[in-house]
């Protein structure tokens, strides 16, 4: 079971969190004219890397904050967690 450091609450076991997928995917701004390809890239297409993966987690059974986790998809090692507005 992963141990994830919520930037707001501290270290907690994974069962308090839910996963939110690739955090490098950015939703295009509302009303912005974009190509079909840009939109499809946002909705469906993923880098799906082996190794370092920046992803979202949600502290559902805690503070209910979404935050970013930098994690290795091969070893599951977590390098860093940060608030959404932090680098």
């Amino acid at each position: 079971m992963l141990e994830i450091k919520c930037p707001y609450c501290g270290k907690r076991s994974q069962n308090e969190f839910s996963y939110g997928g690739d955090a490098s995917v950015k939703r295009p701004a509302l009303e912005k004219e974009i190509s079909d390809k840009e939109w499809d890239d946002f909705v469906y297409f993923r880098k799906n890397p082996r190794g370092k993966h920046l992803e979202l987690w949600h502290h559902v059974s805690g503070c209910r904050q979404w935050f970013k986790v930098s994690r290795d998809t091969t070893t599951h090692e977590i390098y860093k967690t940060s608030k959404i507005n932090e680098e």
């Binding site: 997928g21 297409f45 998809t73 599951h76």
Partner: protein, 418 residues
Amino acid sequence: MQKYSIFSLIKNAFTNHENWEVAWKDPEPKKEYDVVIVGGGGHGLATAYYLAKEHKITNVAILEKGWIGGGNVGRNTTILRSNYMWDANGLFYEYGMKLWENLSQELNYNVMYSPRGIINLAHSDAQLNTYSRRGNSMRLNGIDAMMLGRDELKKMIPFADFSSSARFPIFGGLMQPRGGTARHDAVAWGYARQADSMGVDIIQHCEVTGFEVQNGKIKSVQTSRGNIQTKKVGLCVAGSTSLLAEKLNMKLPIESHVLQACVSEPVKPFLDHVVTFGAGHFYCSQSDKGEMVMGGDLDGYNSYAQRGNLPTLQHVLSEGVAMFPNLSRLKMLRTWGGIMDMSMDGSPIIDKTHIEGLYLNCGWCYGGFKATPVSGWTFAYTIAQDQPHDLNSKFKLNRFSSGHLIDEKGVGTKTWIG
């Protein structure tokens, strides 16, 4: 090639089994092939076999990074079925079932196809209705399906929780009688042996490191054992598809996730069907060795590690015990994980790509094992004819842009929810 039979077995017994031939050779890669299949798993081996058998293309190499059959074909729960709602899936997998039915004889290798019936338990009337929609769709597609009532189920699986203490009582179930299991390793080995005998080169411990593409056409494959010229490359590397696609500057509608499975210690057979739990995600059958073979949900985060964590198994086994309370006193013997290509609508991709000569076979989610024959068959057709067969014509890569999604579960792009 030696023919396998009871007679050859007896004959060889008298020479102490010292005269058996190798099941497949271990050749050095040639400089050039007509077709290169990347990935020596079930789908890759089947594709090579059908290329040789159906399309007479035998100058084929299978490149496998490790040992053949070491990926998901060797780490699944061996379930075969075609109990799908959407036509694109139903008709495809049903053709697969027909291939399964003759596979042992065709390959002269006992893959132990066992049509013991797969039962999906339902725990409410609403769920029964959802299953009816699927079951009726199957029947109208010519696929076997039947509804079972609670009383019928009590006779078939009396050890299931029919008591008043069940949190989600069993209301009934949908059964596909021809669904069942097969011996997973045998499938890989059987295809390998026949493909090898028709001239296909099975090259193990050969990692693909890159591709050479010129003017939009595939030219060669770079490997840890040198460059191999070819005009056609088929990718059959579910679990790692995105990694090879990256070498081709392609992004795919796929995420890799780890799925765990486990077996109990062997016990005398008491479960003769494959049964799935409807108030959760759990499936279970009992192998011919007596082990309960069990699986369920993904670990739920992107992963390329063939290992998972215990809470997922705790969750899955709690579903198992909710379904069959007697599992509680058995012991979990072995657990393992496999990497799934989770596609964004839960259905596979078997298609050409924008690169001429590059073909894609991926996105199998949980369901790749049962598809092995039909995936190989249709992919071989697609490669040989340079166009999809009717059966895989809906499994296009561009369906994500066009909106022709094939979403069996209706959960959308959150692949980790499964």
